[in-house]
Symmetry: C2
Subunit: 338 residues, 2 copies
DNA sequence: GAACGACCTTGAAACGTTTCATCGTTCGTT
DNA sequence: AACGAACGATGAAACGTTTCAAGGTCGTTC
């Protein structure tokens, strides 16, 4: 396989290799004549820059790593898409990895990406990676946390204000006349879940209304968990049932919807309102379109990538937290006429 | 930033750089004593192999590229996950790109990945890339087509038998007593769509029953297109309505389901059965769980990756087509008691 | 007409690996 | 005791690029 090198181009164009390199990277510093000849030769010979050699010599890599918790979760897919598109615009390749909620797998990707000397790392961590990220940073690889508030750590982060989101969600339910609210989700060790619940309680407390907020804990935030929780609610005495359910995310909400609508005894939203979180694309496509709190998922990915690039260019920038506010999206699962 | 190189390790362990390299890549050819010293030094110094230098010198890259049509389509997400997991097991990084149905974007990723000298390419093409893939192959980069039968081209492919899938879907509908079948999907220029339709017609023809197969064309295979098609069906005179709908994919089917169930006049499956294709994870989570044709999406991705690696190791292998058979998954949208 | 800048170009060094021909030891055989 | 195979270790060359000090060629200025 005859790989065409910068040397071949130089010979063909009748210039030195240094000039070819300049034509490629600093076209202004090359005479129009030489530039044209180099470009013609590149076309004729089919030269394609070797990124490995470029990286090796210059120390600058044109790739970044993305490690998400679960590639099956729509939210992370959107984040990834936002980051990938933003990277593509800059000619940067995205190394993709999913930890599948397995800390060992997460470490494996961290190692792999370090070997590739990625310019930086976008990560939604599952295990405790703060020491490792610190180490990477000392070795010149910056990280930005995604969907996680870094707070104490010396790392930038891009996330959503889950407390505010929970609060807005429940304020909406209260404003539409609901008073017996069930929060469905879990595990309650997950920061995103507890923040949303905390926000829900704030809304209830500050309303000055006689509101109850009951917690129906699930083991995961999945459709199946939502279905199971829905069946538990249906098995209750009618008087004990909530008149609104706030789900920790849309997957749980869709599960609830399936259980309740499928059962047929309760109408949504007349008998019970259902509120989700994330506004994944399937939320609007549900049998009863789902009200939800929209997260700017692709924007989160794009912003995280931009911050990462800025920081990797100037290693002295200090970490910062970017927090987006979620947005209420009202559909028929909470308001019949929506 | 003090990058630790193989030279530093050699010095620290009291051996030559060649021995360090051997310890890393051919541990059997190094004496136990030297091996131990090298490994100790690696740990102590925090040495991390530089993949760019390795790649440059050896000509072997530890990364492959994946280009999908649309990162929003669940099917491709599953394919990508299958490929990524398989790659991770081998310590290979996955460069991820989505063409977003834009041929220019697709070309951009092809160029980018060539610069990275990926070992090979997994691609679900949108534009006409056969010439480009041929060129890449001559330059040592093999490709495997995903979700596309290569047929004429000298490229391997991994796909699903869409004709058989369409046939099995309609056979199921006929077996459950349906006779007036509507096929909903589009555009009819898309091979996957026309194959599924062709299969549907085969089933109808071969059944020997008085069956009608009507085509309701949509512009895309999306939830929105499904909703629109559903509304069109509802607007018809009851006598003109089909008793079963076979959707080109699950997104369309979910749209149909939303329109029909939401409307409330028709019951699913009593009045109309709905059959999807792909068996995406949300199919089971729909208000009325959706019958569908399951594609082994992650297996497709994993297989494509394996084939790619085999071919890139031995450039003389001849391209082959791998075709999987889809599998009928019966749920309540076609059979009330399922 | 000499001196000076401005502007391009040059060519060798360097990046961190792997490769490979060569060299030293050791040990079993004769 | 001599030989040779087997085994490990060595170190310089090479991969394809970027970088950079140095050199070359003009035109301008005094």
């Amino acid at each position: 396989m005859g790989q065409v090198s910068v040397r071949d181009v130089a010979r063909h164009a009748g210039v030195s290799v240094g000039t070819v390199s300049n034509a490629l990277n600093r076209p202004d510093s090359v005479s129009p004549d030489a530039l044209a000849r180099v470009r013609a030769s590149i076309g004729e010979l089919g030269y394609v820059r070797n990124e490995a050699a470029r990286n090796l010599r210059s120390g600058v890599t044109a790739s970044i790593g993305l490690i998400v918790v679960d590639s099956q979760v729509p939210f992370f897919q959107d984040v990834g898409r936002g980051a990938a598109d933003e990277a593509a615009d800059r000619g940067i390749a995205l190394l993709y990895g999913s930890s599948a909620e397995d800390p060992a797998r997460e470490r494996m990707y961290l190692d792999l990406f370090e070997e590739h000397r990625v310019r930086g790392l976008l990560i939604a961590p599952v295990g405790d990676v703060s020491r490792r990220l610190h180490q990477l940073r000392e070795r010149g690889i910056r990280s930005v946390l995604v969907d996680r508030f870094s707070g104490e750590e010396p790392v930038s982060s891009v996330s959503v204000d889950n407390v505010a989101g929970g609060r807005m969600a429940v304020e909406h339910l209260l404003a539409t006349g609901r008073r017996r609210i069930a929060f469905v989700g879990g595990p309650l060790t997950l920061r995103q879940v507890t923040d949303r619940l905390a926000g829900a309680r704030v809304a209830a407390d500050e309303s000055g209304l006689p509101v109850s907020v009951e917690v129906v804990a699930t083991e995961t935030t999945s459709v199946a968990a939502g279905v199971a929780a829905g069946e538990r609610l249906l098995a209750r005495e009618p008087a004990d049932r909530p008149d609104a359910v706030f789900a920790a995310n849309d997957l749980v909400a869709l599960g609830l919807l399936q259980a309740i609508v499928g059962d047929g005894r309760l109408r949504v939203p007349e008998d019970v309102a259902i509120m989700g979180f994330d506004d994944i694309s399937f939320a609007a496509a549900a049998a009863v379109p789902l009200s939800s709190m929209r997260q700017p998922s692709t924007t989160i990915g794009a912003t995280a990538l931009r911050i990462l690039l800025e920081e990797s260019e100037d290693p002295d920038t200090i970490p910062r937290q970017t927090v987006y506010q979620p947005e209420l999206v009202v559909r028929r699962s909470t308001v019949a006429s929506a």
